[in-house]
């Protein structure tokens, strides 16, 4: 945690933009951050929101170290901000720490990949031919 600094971001803050250099990451302590992607001619589309306890940003971990999405605070956010280069250096020195960190980040990436694939199945679409449960 010595590599982290506490930050407070007002609602509506653009934290990073798609394509920019990914040199930091955050662990959100409170508040909500929206991840969005710019669609030409259609503006920004929010693809996910993340909240307290979540890791914000993993593009710093591997090349090309550029943000794949953009991030904006939905409301006031408090977070721990980490310098990615310093964390990389520390992980190179302490490989056990590095493995733990990469495992934790991979878990986050996996969660978001699974969620994305589930959404591709049109998660909340009509349940069946009859339209109401138990076939509610």
């Amino acid at each position: 945690m010595a590599l982290a600094r506490e930050v407070a971001l007002p609602g509506g803050t653009r934290i990073f933009e798609e394509g920019e250099k990914a040199d930091r990451f955050w662990v959100i302590r409170s508040g909500t951050v929206a991840l969005d992607v710019h669609m030409p001619g259609r503006g920004r589309a929010v693809v996910e929101t993340i909240g307290a306890g979540s890791l914000l940003g993993w593009s710093w971990l591997c090349p090309p170290r550029q943000w794949h999405l953009a991030a904006e605070t939905r409301d006031p956010v408090r977070a721990w901000e980490f310098d990615a280069a310093a964390v990389h250096d520390l992980c190179a020195e302490d490989t056990a720490l590095g493995l733990s960190l990469v495992t934790a980040v991979a878990e986050t990436i996996g969660d978001r990949l699974r969620a994305t694939r589930t959404r591709l199945l049109d998660l909340y679409g009509p349940p069946g031919p009859q339209g109401s449960w138990p076939v509610p």
Binding site: A45, A115, L123, G125, P127, Q130, G131, W133, P134, V135
Partner: protein, 268 residues
């Protein structure tokens, strides 16, 4: 008697969303027996056909409340009914959300899409005796903000805890975006002392159950409501068979410990 529909008149009708309607029905003469949360009726649209629809509120007296989404011929006919229209009703059928088994535990009520409808009577029952339970969490996922049911009731549910997430946010939506399992991070529950009630599309229930188990909720404490093709609703025709279960009789509500192996079988 469960094979003979009884005539009910539509006494109230409310458009919930662009394709979903809540109907309040009153018996013309003899009423069917009282329902428990999670049970369903076979609703017959005269001249069109019959479908199973869960009760979406346990109203006073003999009235029945059902929420129907128009996706097929029968459900479209039901959604098209106006006040004064007639419906045939058989029921009650199936297993219920066994809220008594959750006494003293935290509760997770997790809905996807119209799956919130059969869970609403459970939420009502829990709110009616809050001291019997631990912390109540109502988590709902919806395709878009416009598809979200019972929006005017969420303020009452937020006092315990309620959260909504959508797949596709419309302009101006300031709420959460993502799958319903992401809301678990904010929910207030102790996994070892929690009972979860989950209703929605099967893929949503599977993903939710897996996330709950990963967090430490026991599979036999997760209840899901399964959807199959129900016809007779009395366990005789076999259309709703899922492995050893006839879901109209043995379901729709079953424990995930029982449902999980059946939901992962490729061919039955």
């Amino acid at each position: 008697m469960t094979l003979t529909p009884r005539s009910y008149r539509v006494v109230d009708r409310r458009d919930e969303t662009h394709d979903t309607v809540t109907l309040v029905l009153e018996p013309a003469a003899n009423a069917v027996k009282p329902f428990a949360p999670g049970q369903f009726a076979m609703l017959y649209a005269f001249g069109v056909g019959e479908i199973p629809v869960s009760v979406s509120r346990l109203a006073d007296g003999h009235r029945l409340t059902h929420t129907v989404r128009a996706v097929g011929a029968v459900s479209r006919a039901l959604c098209g009914l106006r006040t004064g229209g007639w419906v045939g009703v058989r029921g009650p059928f199936g297993t219920a959300w066994d809220s008594a088994a959750a006494h003293g535990n935290d509760l997770l009520v997790i809905a996807g899409g119209i799956g919130l409808a059969p869970l609403r009577p459970l939420v009502d029952a829990v709110l009616a005796e809050p001291h019997a339970f631990g912390r109540l969490n109502v988590l709902a996922g919806s395709r878009t903000p416009a598809d979200l049911l019972y929006q005017d009731e969420f303020p009452a549910w937020e006092k315990p805890f309620a959260a909504v997430t959508v797949d596709r946010p419309a302009n101006g939506w300031t709420g959460r975006v993502g799958v319903v399992t992401t809301l678990l991070r904010e929910a207030r529950f102790t996994p070892s002392d929690t009972v979860a009630f989950v209703c929605g599309p099967e893929v949503m229930m599977r993903a939710t159950a897996r996330a709950l188990i990963h967090q430490g909720v026991r599979p036999d404490r997760i209840r899901v409501s399964l959807e199959r093709n129900m016809r007779c609703a009395t366990g005789h025709c076999g259309h709703c068979q899922l492995g050893p279960l006839l879901l109209c009789r043995d379901g729709p509500v079953v424990g995930y410990d029982q449902a999980e192996p059946l939901l992962t079988v490729r061919e039955l």
